[in-house]
Each structure stands twice: as structure tokens, then as C-alpha cells.
Symmetry: C2
Subunit: 335 residues, 2 copies
DNA sequence: CTGTTAGCGCATTCAC
DNA sequence: GTGAATGCGCTAACAG
């Protein structure tokens, strides 16, 4: 591996001049510049980013923590984060925490040791945040998709209440009066928000969301199936179901269909997330879409500003979900 | 950020002693050791891995190139790679090339500049490999899931021919005599291998795979749909279909079902990959499973050996796929 | 056992 | 414009 010295020697200049050429800083005579460029190409020289980082005290590295890359939601988020970060000249260390607090802790430590310029957290546990808090003044960070209880934490989040509300309004407008909600784990704040938004959407139409129509589940497809089966078991079916994510909605649809019900003729289903699969299943799934790309873009912009030390006035950004109407929702059958 | 100097000062020892404690190298008196440890904790000192990497000429960083993290196959692979690599003390820079040759090129360059200890390629283009070849003697690498035409390239790959063969044998054993294959892009070698394996599996049963029953597609769900519709259009339906991945198999199932056909009563379908969705769709999908975890494990082991400079006798490893029989396959209806 | 020192590769003063 | 010298934080070689 050639170093800057080798280039300098070959070009017959000092390493300072080579550095100036590489970084386009300072004045260099055209002649020496071309000699340096020639040497660089001849040696196939690549600057050592470790050394540069050590010297400059910045690395153009950003760490991204996600709970599960196999989850389509986070795969998507990760993809966009990476795309926008690399467009701004950052490399990304992607850390899959697997929802494991110890892994989170470890990764945070590793990222700090590797001197990342910033960190983007997505849905980490409060414990990790606590652990991380000792670094909070040392390394810029942005929290994505999850609100922290920490004041002033720079955050990009979805208006989950609105998401639930949109689902409710859509179903009410179709004429549904008997609705159910399959939630994610209610210990997660965003689930509570989605539920409350849904409840409010019904309330403004004069409909009560009865407790027996709230089924708590786990964001997984099988959880959705089980939730639907539980409803079937009561014999008291709603005419429409709102699930807190698309996977559970798929499970709900499958369970109902396996019992001979037709979607949406017998029961309408609304999901949440708008993962690509929504449009390919049949019937295609009406869902509350999360603007992942926008969230990633905002998160990256925010982090970049923080890293560059720019003054950031708005540290908490809330993005709006929107409804994508497909074929899984329809007016209820006339009773 | 405290440095080793601060620790040394606080503990009243030299930086060499601190280094010895950190790395557990050399002998240090118990007393000084505990003083150092105390200082480290007090200052919340974290070693600077840039400096260490620069000094040691190794970083414990590994770069992983995948074509598309949103694709469940690669998300899975990436997850396992990360898991096994971090278990061995490596951090991972995950690069999503988005099937873009320029991004591949860029990433390779970045990884080299960041002095990664090794690289794991998954399904990169031949062009990138060409570009990379200038580094091949400088940085250890392993090719996953795709064979290169380069001699001696360390590789972990699937026996794709066997995969096709297994699918064929299963269907033939069920009694099918009229079979079709929905392939991925045939310019990709592994698709040709899967197809040939399938053909051979039929051949040993005395069945010819007729050309009109080979439909080339694109690995996507919609591609599968279209392929099925094309078959329907000919009016000459097979009794079983083998698709080169699960997503296309889902598309095939959907298209057939939307035309009133029943899976597996009217038509059996076999997929490839064994993504988690296989067991949750209905009917659940019989498929040729790729042992992603094993591939990742072998790839990481191989790379680690290479990095450590161990002598590696077997540089090309071929892993075997296996059949997972679910509900999408059944004997054909009696003609 | 322990401390001093050199140097990894680079950007950045500061003289000239 | 240009080069010599310094130091980022660390490990390793060496001397004691």
C-alpha cells in the first residue's frame, strides 16, 4: 500500500504538496499539481482514512442502530439512511441490535471507539439511551421512529396518532360502525398513540371503540392470525379491522379467509407501514403509509447539521402518515 | 474525550503501562493495574480505534457488499454475516450497492481507504470484481452466493444444480408429468444452474422439459404473476410449476388463484430460498431452502482464516440446499 | 515489571 | 508556492 510519502517521492515534491493536491487546499503550481496527480494514478494511491481521521478528529463515519434488519420496515429505513448518508460523503456502520439491549450497549461503545461523527438510533431501548447519555455531549445523534423521554433529544418521528385517526376516518366514511383494532405491544408508545388516534377517529363519528374489540398482539403475521381467530371465537365479528402494521394485517386477512370470509366483502382490513408487499397480496392492502424516505432524509439532514455544528432550531420533527386506499376496504354489507 | 495520556496521568503511571492493562499484554503489578482500571472508569476512557488501527495496521473492520438489503434473501444473509462477524470481534460496514455498478466501485474504494481487514462480496457484478482485482492481493475477501470466473477466488456458494434437481424430483415423485419452470434472469449463472438441475431431475424420470414451459422472469413477485398469466394465455397449463425464488412463486400462486385455480389441487408450486413468508402464506409454500446461516458462517470463518493468514486448503465451499415440503404441492388430479 | 521513544499516515502550522 | 516539522492516540521495541 503506497502512502503519501511514496507519492511525494515519485512526484519529486514534499508530502505537504501532495496533501494540498488531494484536499484541494492551498495553492499549488499547475505543474507540480499535475506531477502529483500523475504519481497518484501511477501508484494507485488511496489516502488512509484512519490517519486522516486521527489527524482531523473526524471520520465521516456514521453509525446506524436498527433493531432488526430483517424487518421490512427497518430494511427500508436502513436503505434510505445509507443512501442519503453516502450521498453526503458518510460511510455507514450498520448495527443490527436484534432487539437485544446488550448488543445495543456494545455497539454504542464500539461506535464511540471508532470515532463515528454521529449516530442514528432507530427504536432503541430506554436502557441503551441511558447508557448512551454519557456520550450525548460528545457525539451528535438523532433518534428515528421512536420518541425518547429525554428533553431536547433530536428526533424525527411519525405522527402515529394521526395514523390511527386516518384509518378510523376512512373506515367510518365507508359506513363501518363496528370496528376492531389489532395493536402492537401496548408498552410501546407508538402503539398507544395509534390506538388513541383510532379511538378518536371513531369518537368524532359518535362511535365507541369497545374494549373487546381491542386485541393486543406482537407485530408479527402469526400474531395477526391469532388475533383474528380470537375475534372469530367470540362469534361477535366487527365489519372492519385496523391492524398496527401490515404484517399483522396479512395475518388477519389470512385467518378470516381460511374461515370462509371474504375480504373486503365481509370484513375490511387496514394495515400500517405500506411495505411493498401490500400491493402484491390479494386483495391488495389498504394501509397507513409511513414516509420512510422522508423520515430518513430528515434524519440525515438533521444529523448532518448537528455534525457540522450548525445552529438547529427545530430539533424535533414530526412527519405525517397518509392513507393508501387499495382493495382490502369496502363498505360493509347491508346489515 | 480522554486519551491514554489522561489515564496515565491520573493513575500515576506511564502510557505504556496503561496500554498493557488495556490489551492485557505484558506484566503489570496488581497495584498499578488496579490504579489504571480505576482511572479508566473514572474518566470513562474509551480507546481510540483509529489510532490503534493506524498503529497495528489492522482495524477489525469488515466490509460487506450486498446488492439490496430490502430483498429478504440479502437481509437475512446480512443479518447472519453481521452476527458471526461481530461474534469474532469485527465491526461491519454494510454497503448496499443497489445493483449499481458505480456504487459498487465507490464502496470498494471506500472500504480500502478505511483499511478494512477483509471484504465479503455478495452477488457483485463482474465489472466490480475486475475493478477490485487490483486490491485482491492486498485485502482478503470472500465471495458469497455467486461464483466468479476468477481462479482461486475464495467462495461460498450454493449447489444450485442440486436445488433444481430436488424440486424436480419432489414433483415427479408426486406424480407430475407436465411441469414448468419460471426462471430468474438467465444471464445469471445460478439461474442457469437451477434450470439445468431441474431439467436433469425430470430427465432421469424420462420427462422432457419443453421449451414452452420455460418462462424467464426477474425474481420479482409481479414477474411471477406475469409468467403465470402467460402460461394461462397459452391454454396449455402444466400441473406443477417450479419458480427460481419464493417471491415469483407467490406471484405464480396469486395469478393462478385469481383465475379460479386451486393450489395445490389444480397446480402445485415450488419456490426457492425459504424466506420466512413461505410458512405464513396460504397455502404455505413448498420450497428449496438455502442454508443462509450456514453460508454466512462458512463465509465468515473462511474470511477470518484468510485475515489471520492461516493456511486455507479449501477455498471454495459448496453448501447443499434442501427441500422443505409444505402445502403448495400435491399429486396432480387424475387426468 | 516499568518508562521512554519511535512511528503508523496524514493535515497543518510555520518559516522561507 | 513550498517544504520541514509537529502531533493526532496508540502499540511495540527497547532499555533499564
Amino acid at each position: 500500500m503506497p502512502s503519501i510519502k511514496d507519492v511525494a517521492k515519485l512526484a519529486g515534491v514534499s508530502i505537504a504538496t501532495v496533501s494540498r493536491v488531494i484536499n484541494n487546499s492551498g495553492k499549488v503550481s499547475p505543474e507540480k499539481r499535475s506531477r502529483v496527480i500523475e504519481a497518484i494514478e501511477k501508484l494507485n494511491y488511496q489516502p488512509n482514512l484512519l490517519a486522516r481521521g486521527l489527524r482531523q478528529q473526524k471520520t465521516r463515519l456514521v453509525g446506524c442502530l436498527v433493531p432488526d434488519v430483517e424487518n421490512l420496515v427497518f430494511a427500508r429505513l436502513a436503505k434510505y439512511l445509507e443512501e442519503f448518508l453516502s450521498a453526503r460523503g458518510y460511510s455507514v456502520i450498520l448495527c443490527n441490535t436484534n432487539n437485544d439491549k446488550n448488543k445495543e450497549r456494545n455497539y454504542l461503545s464500539v461506535l464511540v471507539q471508532r470515532k463515528v461523527d454521529g449516530i442514528i438510533f432507530s427504536r432503541v431501548s430506554d436502557e441503551s439511551i441511558l447508557f448512551m447519555s454519557s456520550y450525548f455531549r460528545q457525539v451528535p445523534y438523532v433518534v428515528l421512529d421512536r420518541t425518547l423521554e429525554i428533553e431536547f433529544a433530536p428526533t424525527v418521528k411519525l405522527d402515529n396518532f394521526l395514523g390511527g385517526f386516518l384509518a378510523a376516518r376512512h373506515l367510518v366514511e365507508l359506513g363501518h360502525r363496528c370496528l376492531a383494532c389489532v395493536t402492537g405491544p401496548l408498552k410501546i408508545r407508538l402503539c398507544r398513540e395509534r390506538l388513541e388516534g383510532f379511538r378518536e377517529g371513531l369518537k368524532v363519528a359518535g362511535i365507541d371503540l369497545r374494549n373487546e374489540y381491542i386485541v393486543e398482539s406482537d407485530f408479527k403475521i402469526n400474531g395477526g392470525k391469532e388475533a383474528a381467530l380470537r375475534m372469530l371465537a367470540t362469534g361477535n365479528l366487527p365489519t372492519a379491522v385496523f391492524a398496527h402494521n401490515d404484517m399483522m394485517a396479512f395475518g388477519v386477512m389470512q385467518a378470516f379467509r381460511s374461515e370462509g370470509l371474504d375480504i373486503p366483502r365481509d370484513i375490511s382490513v387496514v394495515g400500517f407501514d405500506n411495505i411493498p408487499l401490500c400491493e402484491v397480496v390479494s386483495p391488495s392492502l389498504t394501509t397507513v403509509a409511513q414516509p420512510f424516505e422522508e423520515m430518513a432524509r430528515l434524519g440525515v439532514e438533521l444529523l448532518d447539521s448537528l455534525i457540522r455544528g450548525e445552529k438547529v432550531t427545530q430539533k424535533v420533527m414530526v412527519v405525517k402518515p397518509y392513507l393508501v386506499i387499495r382493495s382490502s376496504t369496502a363498505p360493509p354489507r347491508v346489515a
